[in-house]
Symmetry: C2
DNA sequence: ATGAAAGCGCTAACAA
DNA sequence: TTGTTAGCGCTTTCAT
């Protein structure tokens, strides 16, 4: 690897001169710096960012931790984050927790050791608290939560899950689906909890009794929706509608319902959350909540960059709510 | 940030002793190293990886460059890569080219400057050659291409696009779809070219004339499939089947065909490539080629780790072919 | 078993 | 305008 010393030697200059020239320091006269840059190109010189960052005690890298990269929602958010921070000269470093607290901590620790300039995180389903983030606070590294958040004084970017679930449920009730089951996500996960709360409160507001056996918790995947719906369908009394914590779970519900020979929405209506591309093509097309993951990613990135840019700007208690909206299709 | 010097000072030891103790160097007796480690935990010490890597002239980071993170195929591959290299103690750094050569080069340069231990890349649609990778070769940093490859002496992990397209086309012909159009991807992109070649050769093998106006190039998105199919449908003579370069494009074809009031597969059959989750739920379900992105990611990661592990193992001309298989559904 | 010295590539403060 | 010196945190080699 070619270093500034190599360049300096070639030109009979001192390496500090080269260093300054490459960064267009006004000290160096144009002619000299042109010569230096020309040689740099010729010799295929690449600055050692490791050394630069090490010196500066901070890298131009943003850490991202998510449960799973290949979940459509997360990959879209990540993509949006990258687009924004790239323009600011940053690179992303990613770690997936695979829904375990342990890997989340390890990932965060690696990020910390790598001196990332900031961290963007959506927590695993096991995570209830994030003591491991104290080290970030101590080191002055800003942290932004998104989607799945945890109660802490860090910045957050979310949709109003409570409100969206409330509105969706109200819509179902107003469509005369007066008995509704809920296929919830894992307990503790903020989005599960908030969506479930919104659901329950909407029922209460309309004086509809909350049937506990019709509120089932599970995972975020199709199989979870399938299993839980099957259980609900085993009882004699069927709900008129099912509200799933996300579209994958709704897909599982479809399978269970259709396998049982029931029709959607005639026998049971189904609503999801997230608006996957898939939702539009399900049969019947799925009523769901559109989440704007791109806007979410952009908001995360911008918020973080702001915090990195000037440490005075306190983002700690900032909470950005990205608007979501109900998409009504034929499943309800 | 706490450093080994801080720890050393606290304990009245030398920082080199601390350094050794933390890495379980046999020089240090257990008692001392226990004291050191205890203090490290207490003081929330985190090794400065930047310094470590700088010293070592290489980071425990793998660079990944893809056109777009949020494309299902890529995010799945990335996820698989992360799972494998995580176990080996590496972290991934990602850059998206957004399908431009320029950003691809910039991304690669950043990776190089960051002294990544290796690079995994799927090139943009603009990329025809990769001279920028010479620097990696010179620096002894292994590179692995996947999916969209470029003719070079670097290692590659791909599906046999030619064969898969050939087999798919032959299947269509044997189903008596004796006139077939092809919705191709961008020219130059290896997968587009190979799939198209497979298509053409299968036609030739069965003495079916290749109608140039029925071979249309475009992008990889739904809109491209829609537009190109619309154009094909404008002519009087319709093909009996359409083979799309991927499932998103096939989706666009569905829309155009169905909008025209034609039925799939009765009037026109459609086949795709990739086997998105979506494909199963399209109406009718889409015949396509399953690509095993997880296996692909794992193969990339393992190949790269091998090359990093021992520099003798020459992977330069290695080409790993991941098996794909035809999935027949109701669209054909 | 522990300590001292040197150096990785780069930058910042100061000297010439 | 250019060069000198020092040091970032860590590891390696060699001395004690």
């Amino acid at each position: 690897m070619v270093t500034i010393k190599d360049l300096a030697q070639q030109l009979g200059l001192h390496h500090t001169t080269v260093s300054k020239a490459l960064r267009d320091h006004p000290d160096i006269k144009k002619e000299t710096s042109d010569r230096i840059k020309a040689l740099a190109r010729e010799m295929d010189y690449h600055p050692n960012l490791l050394a630069q960052n090490f010196k500066r005690c901070s890298s131009k890298t943003i850490g991202i931790i998510v449960p799973n990269i290949h979940v459509d929602f997360f990959s879209t958010v990540i993509s949006a984050i990258e687009d924004v921070i790239y323009d600011a000269g940053y690179t992303i470093m990613i770690s997936q927790s695979n829904e375990t607290y342990e890997r989340e901590v390890l990932g965060a620790t690696t990020m910390l050791s790598n001196q990332v300039a900031g961290l963007i995180i959506s927590v695993s389903k096991e995570t209830r608290e994030t003591p491991y983030l104290d080290s970030f606070r101590n080191a002055g590294i800003p942290v932004v939560f998104f989607d799945r958040v945890v109660d802490s004084q860090a910045a957050k970017v979310v949709v109003d899950d409570y409100r969206a679930a409330f509105d969706l449920t109200r819509y179902l009730i107003e469509r005369d689906y007066n008995s509704i089951a809920h296929l919830g996500g894992p307990e503790n996960v903020s989005v599960s909890v908030d969506r479930c709360r919104g659901f329950v409160d909407a029922l209460k507001e309309h004086d509809i009794p909350v049937t506990e056996t019709w509120i089932r918790r599970g995972g975020f995947h199709e199989a979870d929706g399938y299993e839980n719906t099957k259980i609900i369908l085993q009882n004699g009394l069927l709900p008129r509608a099912v509200f799933a914590v996300n579209d994958q779970v709704a897909l599982g519900a479809y399978r269970a319902i259709q396998k049982k020979g029931l029709r959607i929405p005639d026998d049971i209506a189904v609503a999801g959350f997230g608006n996957l591309q898939l939702a539009e093509y399900m049969v019947p097309p799925l009523t769901t909540v559109a989440q704007e993951p791109v806007k979410m990613g952009e908001a995360c990135a911008r918020l973080l960059l702001k915090a990195i840019g000037d440490s005075r700007s306190e983002i700690a208690d900032k909470k950005i709510i990205i608007p979501s909206h109900l998409i009504i299709r034929d499943s309800t």
